[in-house]
Amino acid sequence: MEKFTTLQDTAVPLEVENIDTDQIIPARFLKATDKAGFGENLFKDWRFDKDGKPVEDFTLNQDQYSGQILIAGNNFGCGSSREHAAWALKAYGFKVVVSSYFADIFKGNALNNGLLPVQVSPEFLDELFLAIRKDNKESFKVDLENQKIEILSSGKSENFAIDAYKKTCLINGFDDIDFLVSKLDAIKKFEEKQTQMREAAIQ
C-alpha cells in the first residue's frame, strides 16, 4: 500500500450530503474483475449527461477546482460496501476525502487503499467550504502524523481522530493481510478453543 504522511494541495468541493457509493461508482461498472480503470467512471452520472457530455455545473468538471483533496457533505460513502468506490476516488487522483461523517464500510475501504478519510466537525466543514468559495485556489494541509487539517491562508485548523493502528499502517504503507497472516498460529489455537468456550457459556 502507498504511504501517506502529509499532503498540501488545493481541493475540490462537493457540497452534497449523503453521497452514496452508487453515485461514486454506479453498479453497471462493477463487472470488472481487476482494480484498474475505475477512475474514469468516478461519479459517472453526475459528471456526464446521458449523451456522454460533461455536466457543466458539476464541480469535478469545473476548471477552477483541482487538487488531490475532495471536500464533501455530511455522511459520505453510505450505501453499498463496494470497495470500487475507494478505488475510483484513488484512481481519479484523490488522496484525501474530507467530510463531517463517513459511513463505516467506506471508511474502512478507504483506509485499506491508502485514501485518507478526514472527519471534521460540521462547523469546520463549513469553514472549509467557505474558504474554497472565497478562493478556489485555497490550499489545505493534511498532516497525518499530527492528525491535523489546516486552511493555509487563515491558519485555521482542526484535529481529526484516527485509529492508532490504522495510522501506523498508512504512515508505513503496511496492510492488514500481512499482519493477519503473521497471526495464523494464534488463530489456529483460537479455533481449537472455540468449542470449549461455547460449552463454558452454557454452564
Binding site: N18, D34, N75, G79, E83, G108
Partner: protein
C-alpha cells in the same frame, strides 16, 4: 458484568485485541459472490497466499445473473466473465459454489438462511452491505469491502474495531396492512440514514418477538440503511424452529447442544447500551419513500415534508416531486417485488393474497423475482405462480435483478418504480430511474391500482 447479545457473540470471537487498535475477530462463515470477490482472489494469487479455511466459505452467483433463460449462456460478456472467474476461483480453492442453475442458487442473503448456513451465535461476513440480514438469527453479520474479503480468505479473521451498542425497541400491536418493511422504513425515517453509524443495532420488543424469521430478515437487512454495521435480534423458539431440519443445520444431539448455547445469548437484564430508541407500534402505518435515500420516507397517506436542506431539494428535483405534496394517486409504471429485503416466500404470499382475483393495471409493468431457486419452487408448489400470471405479473428466475440493475432488469430513465428493494439512490434501478421503496403489499396494491393508493381501507 452484564452483557448484551452483541457483546456475548463478539467477545466469544476475539482472537486477540491490539492495544490502541482493532480486534482480531474470528469469522465463522464467509459468504461470497461474483462481484466483490475476483479482486480478492487475484490479490491472494499475487501474494502467493492460500485460502486458509475453504470449508468456511460458501459462494453463490446473484448480482449479475439474468432472470430469464438461466439455462442458456449469459449474454452480457462482462457478466459471463465475472461468473466464470467465480467458478474457476472456487474450483481452484476448494470452495463450495451454488452457481446459476444449482437448486441451492439464489441471492446470498436468501439462500444462506434457507439452507441453515446462517445460525445463531455465528460471526458472518460477505462483500455486500446487506449481510446485516443474517442478524435476524442472533448472529453478528456485516458487510465488508474487497480488501477485507482478502483478509478473511487469508486468515478467516478480520481486523475490526468493536462497534458501539444501539437498541431500537418497538412495542405494541401493528395495525392491519403494516408489515416488517414498514416497521424498518418507519424507524429509518425517524432516525435518519447515519444514526446507526459506528453502532451495531439490537432490535427488541414484542413487535420483533412476534415477527416471523422472514420479517426479522427484512428488518435486519435494512440496518445498513441507517448506517449501522449490522442489526440483530435475540434468537428464540421462532429462530430454532426455522433453523432445525434445514440442509446444513446441526442435527440431533449437536443441534440440542448448540441450542442450549444459543439460549444463553440473550441480552442480560440491565445490560447497558450506548444509545437507545423506543417507538410505539400503533404509530406505524404503511410507508413509502419520496426521495433518494431510504431515510426519506413518509406514511403512504402523508405529505412530503416542506422543510429541508439543499440536498433534499436536489433529491426532490430528481424524483420530480414537490415539498408538501401527497403521493396518493401518483401514476406508477413499474413495480418490483424482489431483492434480499423482500423476496422470501412470505413476501410473495403476502403479495399474492392481495392480488388474487384482481388484475394489474394496464400502465404497469409488474416484475416478480424470487430470492432463490428454493423460493421459486415454493411459489410453484403453492400455486402462487398462477395468481401472479393471471393478474398479468411477470414471474422471473431468481437473482438480485432490478434491485441494483447489474443485469438486464432495468427501470427506464424518468419512470417511477414502487420497489420492495432497500435503496432508492439516484439511478439505482437503472440510469435516471426513480425508486419508491415500499412493502410487497404496497407494491402489489400499486400494481393493481396503477397508482399509489391507500389500500388499507380495502383490507378485511
Amino acid at each position: 458484568m452484564k452483557k448484551t447479545l452483541f457483546d456475548k457473540i463478539w467477545d466469544a470471537h476475539v482472537v486477540e485485541s491490539i492495544p490502541d487498535g482493532p480486534d482480531i475477530l474470528y469469522i465463522d462463515q464467509h459468504l461470497i459472490h461474483e462481484v466483490t470477490s475476483p479482486q480478492a482472489f487475484n490479490e491472494l494469487k499475487e501474494r502467493d497466499i492460500p485460502v486458509f479455511r475453504p470449508n468456511k466459505i460458501v459462494a453463490t452467483a446473484d448480482h449479475n445473473t439474468p432472470t430469464e433463460n438461466q439455462h442458456l449462456p449469459v449474454k452480457d460478456l462482462l457478466s459471463r466473465k465475472q461468473l466464470k472467474e467465480l467458478s474457476q476461483n472456487c474450483e481452484e480453492n476448494n470452495i463450495t459454489l451454488y452457481g446459476l442453475g444449482h437448486p441451492y442458487n439464489g441471492i446470498v442473503h436468501v439462500m444462506a438462511p434457507e439452507l441453515g448456513i446462517t445460525q445463531p451465535g455465528k460471526t458472518m461476513v460477505c462483500g455486500d452491505s446487506h449481510t446485516s440480514t443474517h442478524g435476524a438469527f442472533g448472529a453478528i453479520a456485516f458487510g465488508i469491502g474487497t480488501s477485507q474479503v482478502t483478509q478473511v480468505f487469508a486468515s478467516q479473521c478480520l481486523l475490526v474495531e468493536k462497534p458501539k451498542r444501539l437498541r431500537v425497541n418497538v412495542n405494541g400491536d401493528l395495525k392491519k396492512g403494516v408489515t416488517p418493511k414498514d416497521v424498518i422504513l418507519y424507524v429509518i425515517s425517524k432516525l435518519g440514514t447515519n444514526s446507526g453509524t459506528g453502532y451495531f443495532c439490537e432490535y427488541a420488543g414484542d413487535v420483533f418477538e412476534n415477527m416471523s424469521m422472514e420479517g426479522r430478515m427484512t428488518v435486519c437487512n435494512m440496518s445498513i440503511e441507517m448506517g449501522a454495521r449490522g442489526g440483530l435480534i435475540a434468537p428464540d423458539q421462532t429462530t430454532y424452529d426455522y433453523v432445525e431440519g434445514r440442509e446444513f443445520a446441526p442435527k440431533g444431539e449437536e443441534f440440542d447442544k448448540l441450542k442450549a448455547y444459543w439460549e444463553t445469548l440473550k441480552t442480560d437484564e440491565g445490560a447497558e447500551f450506548d444509545q437507545e430508541y423506543s417507538f410505539d407500534a400503533e404509530d406505524i402505518e404503511p410507508m413509502i419513500t419520496y426521495g433518494t435515500n431510504p431515510g426519506m420516507g413518509i406514511k403512504i397517506t402523508g405529505a412530503i415534508p416542506v422543510e429541508g436542506g439543499k440536498s433534499d431539494a436536489k433529491a426532490l428535483s430528481y424524483m420530480g416531486f414537490k415539498p408538501g405534496e401527497s403521493l396518493i394517486d401518483k401514476p406508477i409504471n413499474y413495480i418490483f417485488i424482489g431483492s434480499c429485503t423482500n423476496s422470501r416466500i412470505e413476501d410473495f404470499r403476502m403479495a399474492a393474497s392481495y392480488i388474487k382475483g384482481k388484475k394489474k393495471a394496464e400502465n404497469v409493468n409488474a416484475l416478480i423475482v424470487p430470492g432463490s431457486r428454493q423460493v421459486a419452487a415454493q411459489i410453484q408448489q403453492e400455486g402462487l405462480d398462477k395468481v401472479f400470471e393471471e393478474a398479468g405479473f411477470k414471474l422471473r428466475q431468481p437473482g438480485c435483478s432490478a434491485c441494483l440493475a447489474m443485469n438486464d432488469d432495468k427501470i427506464p430513465e424518468g419512470e417511477y418504480c414502487v420497489s420492495t428493494s432497500n435503496r432508492n439512490f439516484e439511478g439505482r434501478q437503472g440510469q435516471g430511474s426513480r425508486t419508491i421503496l415500499a412493502s410487497p403489499l404496497t407494491a402489489a396494491a400499486t400494481a393493481v391500482a396503477g397508482k399509489i393508493t391507500d389500500f388499507t381501507k380495502s383490507l378485511n
